[in-house]
């Protein structure tokens, strides 16, 4: 099982590199390749999950290799697999699979056809890395890939002014999140004096011991993680990028605000939950951010005159509720909520598609139909 997990992580990266060398003119090959790669990935995960369930849901931790070793520090790549990873990877694989199917025809003859598909593959590689990551350092690599590909996908129509401007907005806000993670890593090195894995912080005794001695450090790390999560999940005060991300072509916006990218902030919180769940102040802050965003997002959404913005703000509000749920330690409930929201927001996103120069007919449909 460990070997297959490693393969699952390497697979999208490999596919991405191969896709760079595919001929630009051959749309069938490009989309067929991506479709095949993501499809195989999806079904492998599905099979693996069944096997994993039959094994009785063991939690796995794989230490891969060290990047830098010295006497008192060891930077290493580490993977982790539990039910959170299972849910996120399955949903990610399924939605990406659908996006590739959808885009095959949708983007036909679009000048950036190949660019779109290899960016999606790279995005997916980053996503896989994040959800399988076993420590903050590994997660950060995937996190950065996601930031970059998000920027590229939002700015897909790079000859138009607005998408590019909005992409920069997304990029800038994501950077704030990145800084949050970097500072969290820095502070945790000071706290633990080692490259701590997610597996280790499951140990309540250990966490408790360290936090007692350095409660300020502990709080600082939690706040930094929360900042990163807020930026990624478009929570207050970073909500504005989400409606802006809509400027991109539909399939990518479907990935973003509908489903995958925005839920990764939540993922970060769930992953690091054993660390902050005993800090009352951190929990209050997470809950407050969540409930405040939910209220604000729901109110702003109500006055939007475009359905796409309404969906974006509704999504922000739902994620706010998920933040509240994790703050109340309903971790599995939030996970369930994520899965439902990812799918539900995703469907109308396709319906209300918005492609380059074409104008959104749904906005005027209520006028035309009597029903």
């Amino acid at each position: 099982m460990e070997r297959i997990l490693e393969l699952l992580i390497v697979w999208p990266f490999l596919a991405f590199f191969i896709s760079l060398f595919l001929p630009k003119e051959n749309e069938k090959l490009i989309s067929g390749f991506t479709f095949g790669v993501v499809g195989i990935h999806f079904f492998t995960i599905l099979g693996l999950l069944i096997y994993w369930i039959s094994l009785g849901l063991p939690v796995l931790n794989l230490k891969e290799f060290s990047i830098y070793e010295s006497a008192d520090m060891d930077f290493f790549i580490d993977f982790y697999f539990d039910h959170v990873t299972a849910v996120y990877s399955l949903i990610g694989a399924m939605l990406t699979f659908l996006v590739t199917t959808y885009s095959r025809i949708y983007l036909h003859r679009e000048s950036g056809y190949k660019r779109f598909f290899y960016t999606i593959l790279f995005f997916y590689a980053g996503y896989t890395l994040v959800v399988f990551a076993g420590n903050l350092e590994t997660l950060f690599i995937g996190w950065e890939i996601l930031g970059l590909t998000s920027f590229l996908l939002v700015a897909f129509y790079r000859e138009r002014y607005l998408p590019v401007k909005n992409a920069f907005k997304v990029f800038s806000i994501y950077r704030i999140g990145d800084v949050g993670i970097i500072l969290a890593m820095w502070a945790s090195h000071h706290l633990w004096h080692e490259n701590i894995t997610f597996a280790k912080i499951q140990n309540y005794e250990l966490v408790h011991h360290h936090l007692e001695a350095h409660s300020v450090f502990g709080l600082f790390i939690s706040i930094m993680l929360l900042t990163a999560a807020c930026a990624k999940s478009a929570q207050f005060p970073f909500s504005s990028w989400l409606p802006r991300a809509m400027e991109g072509p539909t399939p990518s916006s479907a990935i973003f605000y509908g489903s995958l990218s925005v839920h990764l902030g939540l993922f970060l919180l769930i992953r690091t939950m054993p660390f902050w769940e005993h800090q009352l102040i951190a929990r209050i802050m997470i809950g407050a951010v969540g409930i405040f965003t939910a209220a604000i997002g729901a109110s702003i959404g109500r006055v939007q005159s475009s359905v796409k913005s309404q969906i974006a703000y509704a999504s922000v509000a739902q994620i706010g509720l998920m933040f509240l749920e994790v703050a109340l330690r309903f971790k599995n409930f939030a996970l369930f909520h994520f899965a439902g929201n990812a799918f539900f927001a995703y469907v109308p996103t396709f319906g209300f598609s918005f492609r380059s120069e074409l104008f959104d007919k749904r906005a005027i449909l209520p006028l035309c139909s009597q029903a």
Partner: protein, 702 residues
């Protein structure tokens, strides 16, 4: 400070502005609109050149494009020479020909518009459009919103500026970032001329400035102008005027400049050096334009030449005298011309006719459970009749995903936990096998097949929404007579005469608004087809017609139908014949229709880039049906944009002729219309509408 001098008169300028702005109404009723309507009193080529020079419109292909067409063999040399001969006389045609092919010209459509206002960028380094437009449009959208937003706009019935004032007074945050603009708004002293005095400062330039400003977003301004003049184009009426809109935009401009420079900046006119060419100064027609016009002439005539050649060579000059198997009336629409060809090919005894798809019956239609009556006749008509759909237990299916309460916090929360998962499964299936859903706009849902229609008026005094409910017997007879005589169907009636309207279905095509029947105000023609058949079958109507010399045999039945042009399906209405022979005949004819529809789908599929042509006939038709309901198919079927002909005459002229779905075919028989009355009606009402329609779609798609 109130400037009312002679040079700048606000009312005149607004009038002038409204005249030139595109009159784009909301897509409620079909819009027949010449985008160059302000120039339509001029000669064709003058209008093209002037509008291009003044507003920078691209009104023809570019020189390079024409030359490429020539090299591809799509423009014929002999016709070029003929065009030169007609326009330039017969002297030295080679000189002109050489210029057309090799002459060096600046190939551009740049116009004078925005020259004045661009100075903000050049001299002040401020991009006003960039700073203002995103907010302005969003605000206007919210103000005009027709029910997309869950909470509607707080104050909307007092007029645009009054609303802004009231909101400004009652909220904590301001529309403006600096005090002067707010002051101007609240003091109620802001006339357009006052604001222009601050911004421009030279009255001779005011008009030019306003044109520059409003033509920076002609669609929005044109829309505002239409809503001001015709509030009924919106279902949920909004009070707005172009004047208010301009004032608000001018205030935002002052605000933006104040924010950058404080209140001490010079008006535009003070810093411009040199002369600004007036927008409407006479336009010189240069040699470059003449060359373009020659190319266009030659291009058009190359096409007409082929069509006329085809008509000349067409062996069937007269109607065959043998008895018709069945007769069918279709819309004159270009999409129907191929279907008619296939029907006649499969069933040589069938006879087809073309007439505007509302079949001469103009009325409003209110479906069961409908909240509004909708127009189902050409948009310029305002008929005083209403026909209602009646049906027991009609329910409109709903789709949870498109209900607005899913966007609210708590319902949304509840629903994501439940239906979210069902969505996933459904989406998964739908992406792989697209199919009909409540989100599909399906032409057959326009009117339920099993419904009753209130066609016959029991009492002309009976009114609903101010409209007469149904038609009286005489009114019916007039309409049937008018229709049949205009298409020349007055004798040799077949046992069944079909009236086939058309409509379209789509789930996600952005061009859908242009897909339905234009003669029915952009709606499916099913109701009209059914109504005209009811009228023509009515015994009392037939009696009146007989007294007017139009004898329809009692065995002849009229039968309504709807052809879905995106799915190539057909639905027949009221097809329960008492007569067994007729039932059999109808059964046979149905097969003809089905076969013709398969072939028609194949012909259309030639132009669908993503539909594989390797399927056999049936599967290809299935692929075409799938295309109409697939989420990921935003590419249009260009339809009217490729329309280039309108032929008014007997079908014998064009029978068997492949016109590539590019022709409007209106049936007409000169021999029964010696005074030309029907011809006059066809040409004066229907034809210009058609030409506009193709023009509009050509300009918007092309």
């Amino acid at each position: 400070m109130n400037y009312t001098t002679n040079i700048f008169k606000v009312d005149n300028v607004l009038h002038h502005l409204k005249h030139y702005l595109p009159a784009q109404a909301s897509l409620k009723d079909f819009i027949h609109h010449n985008t160059l309507h302000a120039f339509q009193d001029r000669k064709f080529y003058d209008a093209l050149t002037q509008s291009s020079k003044i507003f920078g419109y691209k009104t023809s292909l570019s020189l390079m494009e024409y030359r490429d067409l020539f090299h591809e063999g799509k423009i014929s040399e002999s016709i070029i020479l003929k065009a030169i001969g007609e326009k330039k006389g017969s002297e030295l045609p080679e000189v002109w020909f050489d210029k057309m092919l090799n002459g060096a010209y600046k190939d551009t459509f740049a116009g004078r518009r925005s020259h004045l206002r661009n100075n903000w960028k050049d001299l002040y380094s401020v991009d006003l459009d960039l700073a203002i437009q995103p907010f302005l449009f969003r605000f206007l959208c919210s103000y005009l919103d027709q029910g997309i937003a869950i909470w509607s706009f707080p104050v909307w019935n007092k007029g645009f500026l009054t609303t802004i004032r009231e909101m400004e007074r009652n909220t904590f945050i301001s529309f403006f970032k600096t005090p002067r603009a707010k002051q101007l708004l609240m003091d109620r002293k802001c006339e357009i001329s006052d604001l222009l005095a601050i911004l421009v400062g030279d009255e001779t330039l005011y008009e030019h400035y306003l044109f520059d400003q409003q033509f920076a977003h002609p669609g929005w301004s044109g829309f505002v102008s239409v809503v001001e003049d015709m509030p009924q184009t919106l279902i949920d009426a909004r009070r707005i005027s172009l004047q208010d809109f301009i004032i608000f935009e001018l205030l935002l401009e002052i605000d933006t400049l104040d924010q950058k420079f404080g209140e001490n900046w010079l008006p535009l006119a003070k810093r411009i050096k040199g002369h600004v060419e007036p927008l409407f100064a006479p336009v010189q027609i240069t040699e470059y334009h003449e060359i373009l016009h020659l190319w266009q002439d030659a291009y058009e005539w190359t096409f007409y030449d082929q069509v006329l050649g085809g008509i000349l060579a067409n062996p069937e000059k007269e109607n065959t005298s043998e008895k018709s198997g069945f007769q069918a009336m279709f819309c004159i629409d270009d999409r129907v011309c191929s279907l008619r060809r296939y029907i006649e090919e499969i069933e040589p005894t069938a006879q087809t006719f073309g007439t505007p798809g509302f079949f001469g019956v103009a009325f409003y239609y209110k479906p069961m459970n409908g909240k509004f009556s909708m127009k189902v006749c050409p948009a310029p008509m305002n008929p005083p009749y209403l026909i209602k759909e009646e049906l027991d237990n009609k329910k409109n299916k709903k789709d949870f995903h498109f209900a607005d309460y899913t966007h609210s916090l708590f319902f949304g929360w509840l629903i994501t936990h439940t239906i979210g998962f069902w969505s996933a499964i459904r989406l998964f299936i739908n992406i792989f096998t697209p199919r009909l859903s409540p989100a599909t706009t399906l032409s057959f849902r326009h009117m339920d097949k099993h419904s009753r229609l209130t066609i016959e008026s029991s009492d002309p005094q009976l009114k609903e929404d101010g409209l007469q409910l149904g038609f009286t017997i005489t009114e019916m007879a007039d309409r049937v007579e008018g229709l049949l005589k205009s298409i020349g169907l007055v004798k040799d009636f077949a046992p069944i005469v079909y009236a086939v309207g058309h409509g379209a279905s789509s789930v996600n095509n952005t061009h859908y608004a242009g897909y339905d029947c234009g003669a029915c105000s952009g709606r499916p023609g099913s109701v009209n087809a059914r109504v005209i058949c009811y009228m023509a079958n009515h015994p009392e109507v037939r009696q009146i017609l007989r007294s007017r010399g139009l004898d329809i045999p009692s065995k002849t039945m009229f039968l309504g139908a709807l052809h879905d042009t995106t799915r190539d399906e057909i639905e027949f209405y009221d097809d329960n014949f008492a007569d067994v022979a007729q039932t059999e005949l109808h059964k046979h004819n149905k097969k003809v229709f089905m076969q013709a529809l398969d072939l028609n789908a194949r012909e259309r599929a030639r132009r669908f880039v993503t539909t594989s042509k390797r399927h056999d006939l049936k599967n290809l038709h299935e692929a075409v049906k799938k295309r109409s309901v697939s989420l990921f198919e935003p590419r249009p079927e260009l339809n009217h944009a490729t329309n280039s002909l309108c032929i008014v005459g007997r079908r014998a002229l064009t029978k068997k002729l492949f016109l590539d779905r590019r022709a409007f075919l209106n049936s007409y028989d000169y021999s029964i219309d010696p005074e030309g009355n029907y011809l006059f009606t066809i040409l004066s009402a229907a034809a210009p509408v058609r030409w506009y329609q193709s023009g509009v779609l050509l300009f918007s798609c092309g």
